[in-house]
Subunit: 447 residues, 2 copies
Amino acid sequence: MRLTQYFLPVLKENPKEAQIVSHRLMLRAGMIQQSSAGIYSWLPMGLKVLSKIEQIVREEQNRSGAFEIKMPTIQPAELWQESGRYDDYGLEMLRIKDRHDRDMLYGPTNEEQVTDICRTHIKSYRALPINLYHIQWKFRDEVRPRFGVMRGREFYMKDAYSFDLTAEGARIAYNKMFVSYLKTFARLGLTAIPMEADTGPIGGDLSHEFIILADTGESGVYFHKDWQEKDMVADISYGDDLQPVVDQFTQLYARTDETHDANTCPVDEADLMMRRGIEVGHIFYFGTKYSAAMGASVSSPDGEMTDLHMGSYGIGVSRLVGAIIEASHDDGGIIWPASVSPFDAGIVNLKPGHSETDKVTDMIYQAAIKAGRDVLLDDSTDSAGAKLARMDLIGLPWQIIAGPRSTERGVVELKCRKTGEVVEHSPEDAAAALLAHLAQKVSQKVS
Amino acid sequence: MRLTQYFLPVLKENPKEAQIVSHRLMLRAGMIQQSSAGIYSWLPMGLKVLSKIEQIVREEQNRSGAFEIKMPTIQPAELWQESGRYDDYGLEMLRIKDRHDRDMLYGPTNEEQVTDICRTHIKSYRALPINLYHIQWKFRDEVRPRFGVMRGREFYMKDAYSFDLTAEGARIAYNKMFVSYLKTFARLGLTAIPMEADTGPIGGDLSHEFIILADTGESGVYFHKDWQEKDMVADISYGDDLQPVVDQFTQLYARTDETHDANTCPVDEADLMMRRGIEVGHIFYFGTKYSAAMGASVSSPDGEMTDLHMGSYGIGVSRLVGAIIEASHDDGGIIWPASVSPFDAGIVNLKPGHSETDKVTDMIYQAAIKAGRDVLLDDSTDSAGAKLARMDLIGLPWQIIAGPRSTERGVVELKCRKTGEVVEHSPEDAAAALLAHLAQKVSQKVS
């Protein structure tokens, strides 16, 4: 893509309304535009990142054996009256009356809706286990929406729901999602620490939050200093017994400030890390809370009707865009992990019209396209300084920089956005080195 | 996918609430489930079709040079007050008050929202032309929602918006979308006739509806008997002058009953075809209607501020699922065009447990997976008749049918769903013939 033909409305000034770095950088990099408080339009480059995250989440859900469905955003109040949550849920629920004065709502979550699907169609244990997920817009009418897409009102979320005959079966489903989340966050370039959590208003007795560390995080988090990511996540097969994996990831203490209590914490103060973190996923097992209330039962092998054991599993897809930036940026701007970068690389032509520079940047641009890469060529007439700052701001992992001074010496610069390292190459070697970097499948960790 | 592991809740009975064939077949084939009046959940197989249609629409929008964005579903009333449509739009607009008593609405369309984006970021003619599209859920609170996804309340729509400095520029943008629609519908296996249309409440002076023919269509349509699809659509490049193409497709009379008038129709009655049709797309040029009202202007080359010339271009993505079925079904069920079929093919094992049949169907299933094909293997213990009826119902273009009687003779059946033609092959030849059929890229026309 040539920048002069693209829609990338970069802001020169820091927007006043943005209190945190991800919000500021997303506005400045032309990724989003506010529509009203806590509600955003995703502009082309922002949507590219959102869609890449969505696709990684989808692939790992599919691999775990879950089936994708799509439930509507607008739900009938009756379903929530059945579960008892219609009255419990406070003002965060956006309540709506349709033209016939029927009570509707914009779904903040979908336990009731998916339970209705299962009670309609699943009558026998033979159809179990099943896990249905969807990736859909949700609405929570936050009293004070802030922090951009990190705490918006309309947000994009993956929510999965597992249905099993027994608590043991539900535990297997829970473990699959646990591992799926580890794999998902690893592919996104993130280290997410599973932390034991309260189940809260959703009910139930087993729950983990997945937290990424970031100095700007909303929560204080506490974990044993020996906690470290296990490298073998990618190699785990969903068909394996996953309990040992889950045990390994949960054996060391890890809690957010919601459940951490210094008086009861079993870890010596000297061994306890205290940091800040951002919640990017949350998984729950809540047994028969909804199935019992809503009559979702199946015939079991002994012929008795049994309420379904359920779990629910959320990932904040739009929140992740902000969370990744919180975990991966510097003073110059965003530093995208390769797997979600809106373009694979950027090419900066410092002086369009200078024939050697035009020739060289075009050659590398065409070579990248021919190799199936999606690259952004800055062919604008802005100043060299503005172009370099913009390319750093938008955070593509690799940059090729070429101008009259370099091309007349027969070289261009290949810059790694994360390390800042710059290497001079001949144009041909730079193209080859860039493509070699892009071919590396190893995910680049950012936190 | 093995059917016994899939979530495909096929209904045996015709659902009473379904008045038209696509609604009946979508419910029976387990594609959708009603949540409330005119609002549906998409079950796994339904979502697969919806997503394939969405992706084809997206690809042709991208190829035309439009950029994908994502605007939110919930819009502030202020934007619609600026354009004057907040009061004009009737009860079909779902009006909402948030917790702070602010007037919001669930977007039925996005002219105001996208105009706000452009007036914020586009200040000079140098940034033009630009076409921004999104694929997003919309809501129209129909007084009497019916016909399933054909006239639902919450529906999935692609809407694009072009911005140009001049009317001539806008015409070029209009022509690109016109051609993009022809290509899109051709790839979906449909023949869509562009018909001159009123611009209606959206305003403006140039508009075409794209109509596919179906006996169950909602509109009467009238067109010259010599109208025929031009086969060269796929070869047209968006960079060409498209006016001759548009002229060629619009030179013969084609109108819906909304604008057809027998008294003024220039076509002899003998030359006039009268049929029924379904609207699947609608394109408009409406000049400066919104840009003038909302202050979306740019500096022109002579330094004057000029209101942007706009067009909007819609495709009903969820409606298309129903429309394709209306245009392509028989007494047995759906007949999917290959490009949107939820699976590439189905394999029916008429007697699981019969070792030769198990061996043969498994061999063909594995061969298809190895070739990268997405096939559904019916490995259930239902009766042979139920399996054959179900496979016809769900409409996959190709079926392999194997049972004890055929496999003991060393053959299986390869059936074309559309023609009903059945050919016996050895299992190896059947696998090869199936893969050869699937490799044919020629789109299969259904109307």
